[in-house]
Each structure stands twice: as C-alpha cells, then as structure tokens.
Subunit: 118 residues, 4 copies
C-alpha cells in the first residue's frame, strides 16, 4: 500500500479497510488482523493501527472484543451498501465544495470529471 502525501496515513488505512468491507473482501463478523500484524503488513507503527481500529469502532464499522481482537461489525443495522454510499457522498461533497470555490463553471467541472473518469 502506497500512501498519498496529503492525507494522514490512518485515514487512508480506514478508507482501505472500509473498501475491503464494502466490497466483501471482509465479511460481517470476520476477524481483522491484529494490531501488530496489520502494522507490520502495512509497515506502520502499531499505534497508528490502534487509532484506525478505534475510529472504525467509534463509527460502528467494527467491534472490539476484549483480548480477542477486532471484528467486522455483525450489526443488523449496519448496512454495507449504505456505508459505501455515505462514504462516496462525503467524498463528492468535499470535492464539489472545493471545485465550485475555484469559480470554474459547473458545466466545465462536469466535463473534466467525465474525462478523468475514463
């Protein structure tokens, strides 16, 4: 995993794990790697992973069981596809806000996005 410079590493890892969950690579109830293992895998300090897991739990994406590990939430209320939508919506809102601030006309923005998507 490569890290983008302007986004905190822990945020990027959160994105990545959410992506894995929403895609089904990690299914509800399955165990995430231990803090130490994931830290090693991602060449990152364990504290950074601790923060990632705490954030994910705070958001209800995962569950932590004492001494047992961190698991993808098995919550009925937790709907993966809605999470995915919320996630992309947030992404889009941030982008649109910044884009409009530049004063570039909407039509042009749309055109450029279309191009970039292909």
């Amino acid at each position: 995993m490569e890290y983008e410079k302007n986004t905190p590493i822990y945020v990027q890892i959160i994105y990545e794990l959410k992506r894995r969950i929403s895609v089904g690579e990690l299914s509800a109830g399955s165990k995430l790697p231990s803090v130490r293992d994931l830290a090693e895998e991602l060449k990152v300090n364990p504290n950074t992973i601790v923060r990632v897991y705490q954030e994910l739990e705070r958001e209800g994406v995962t569950e932590t069981r004492r001494g047992m590990g961190t698991f993808v939430a098995d919550n009925e209320q937790f709907d993966v596809s809605s999470m995915k939508k919320a996630f992309i919506s947030q992404l889009i809102d941030e982008f649109v806000q910044k884009a409009l601030q530049t004063g570039v006309p909407k039509a042009e923005i749309l055109e450029l996005v279309t191009k970039a998507l292909n």
Copy 2:
C-alpha cells in the same frame, strides 16, 4: 468572506485573489492591498497574508517591487484561466482516484457529482 473548515485559510485567500484577478476586479499591473490592509479586510493574521503573497509570487501571479508593494504580474505568459484549470485538474484527479477506489461504478459517480453540483 467566510472560511471553509477543511481548507487552509491561506489557500482560500489565494483562490479569492485569483478570482478577483481573473474577473478583472484586479487588472494586470495593478497594486494589491498591503499585507496589513488585506489582513484587516479579511480578518486574518498578517502572517497568513504574507504567506499568500509569497505563494502567489512563486507562481508568477504577482510581482513584488521593493519598497512599492505587490502587483498583479504584467506577464503575457500569465494566463489566469489555464492556471485555474491546472488547479482544478489536480483537484479532480485526487477525487477520481479516491472515488474509483471505492468500487462504485463510473456512471454512478458521474450521476452523483452531477446531482451535487446542482
């Protein structure tokens, strides 16, 4: 001027000044307000304006003449609209990269962006 929370103030002011220039509110060769005046006008720390002017000069948007102040560059090569496009392109690239990473189909992304723009 209202400041958006997720973007550094100095970046937002840069946008604003570029906007004023591209719109013609500030024409080529005209003098920009002094650091102190602009700081006061925008209710911002003078250091922030210093940084804005340094950044603008680095980009060739303005010129600083010793003892006289800061002026909009009189440079033929300086093309406001292309500058804006370069900036928005970067914005779009970052966004598209993240958006595609989520696995949401391109068509849907485009649709959501269109909605968000209006």
Copy 3:
C-alpha cells in the same frame, strides 16, 4: 448469560458465582463445575475461568483440593452477604466520588439514583 460491555468478563462471572452461592444454588462444600465445563457453559475462554477460580480462592470463597476440583468453601467465617457489602461499598465510593466532583447537589444525585434504580 449476557456480558456487559464495560466490565471484564471474569469479574462478571465472579459475580454470577457468588450470586449462585449466596442464593443457595451452590451450597457450602459443593463442587463447582470443572474449568472446561464452566467455560463451555458460559461460552468463555477456559483461561478466563481459571482466573475466576483463582480469584475466588484468593478471597476464600472457594477451596481447591488437588485432583478433586474446586469446592465452595466450608468456612464459617465466610459470609457471603458481608462480602457483597464490601464490594458494593467500593462501587458506591467510586461513584459518589465522581458524582460529587460534578458539583451536582447531593439531593439531586440521590433523586436521580432513586429514579434509575426503578
């Protein structure tokens, strides 16, 4: 048995066993289930039960007889209700300390506790 999230499982099991003893479900001198059996019954890691039994023995609530198992102590001095009181006193002291620290008047605290108890 359901586990409450904010208290260690082993503590909750200790409560539960003490409860069974004080209620008479487990009488003085009777044999407690083996570590494995209790672990299975309570859907818990055997290590957790080991700790529970160690703790109970340390408190004098149970006795371990080599090769025979763990038994409810046959100790005259062992007074379940006083034990419970000691525990709840500690609980109350901690609570009262924190509650008073908030500056809420005593009368109000008492009223709220009364409500919460019912």
Copy 4:
C-alpha cells in the same frame, strides 16, 4: 490533580475539563490552555492532552481553530447544563447497572448511597 488508578488519565482530564465548563470556570468561547501548557500543568505527556482535546471536540464541547488553539464551544445548541445532566446520568446508569448485578436489594443500595453522600 490526582489520578485514580482504574480510569485512564485522559478520561479523568476530560471529566475535569467538562466540570470546569459546566461550573462556569471556563465560559463559552474562552480559550483552553495550549496542549503543551496543559500537559506541563498536569504533569502529563502532550499526546495525552491532544487526545483529550480531540475527544472533547468530537463531542462538540470544544472547537479547534487552526494554529490558534482550542476553545470552549460557542455553540448555541450546546447547553452546559444539559451536558452536566447527561454526564451525571451516564455516571449513574453505569453505577446502577453494576450495583444491581451484585444482587444487593435496591433499598439497601439506596441506603448505602445516602450514607456515602454524607
């Protein structure tokens, strides 16, 4: 400030700051000490204070302004007295839950709390 052993330091500091706010020692809009200053005052590592401030902001109790510091939230919606009530309620709920789990009768619990309060 003395730290109680069984509660994380950062939680105790959060309590303390909330208390100061709810009591009016820190009024809405006022600046909290800088991370480094508070860390020194409380003989604690700066990272611990960072965590405290982040948690408080997440809860809406404070606002962080870039490069300027941390301030008591000036939010109309933020009602100090309701915060105080929410805080004490949480404290009481946790206590009552644990207390009832011990099997001690309600009347007795209430009696003991009354005693402890005086």
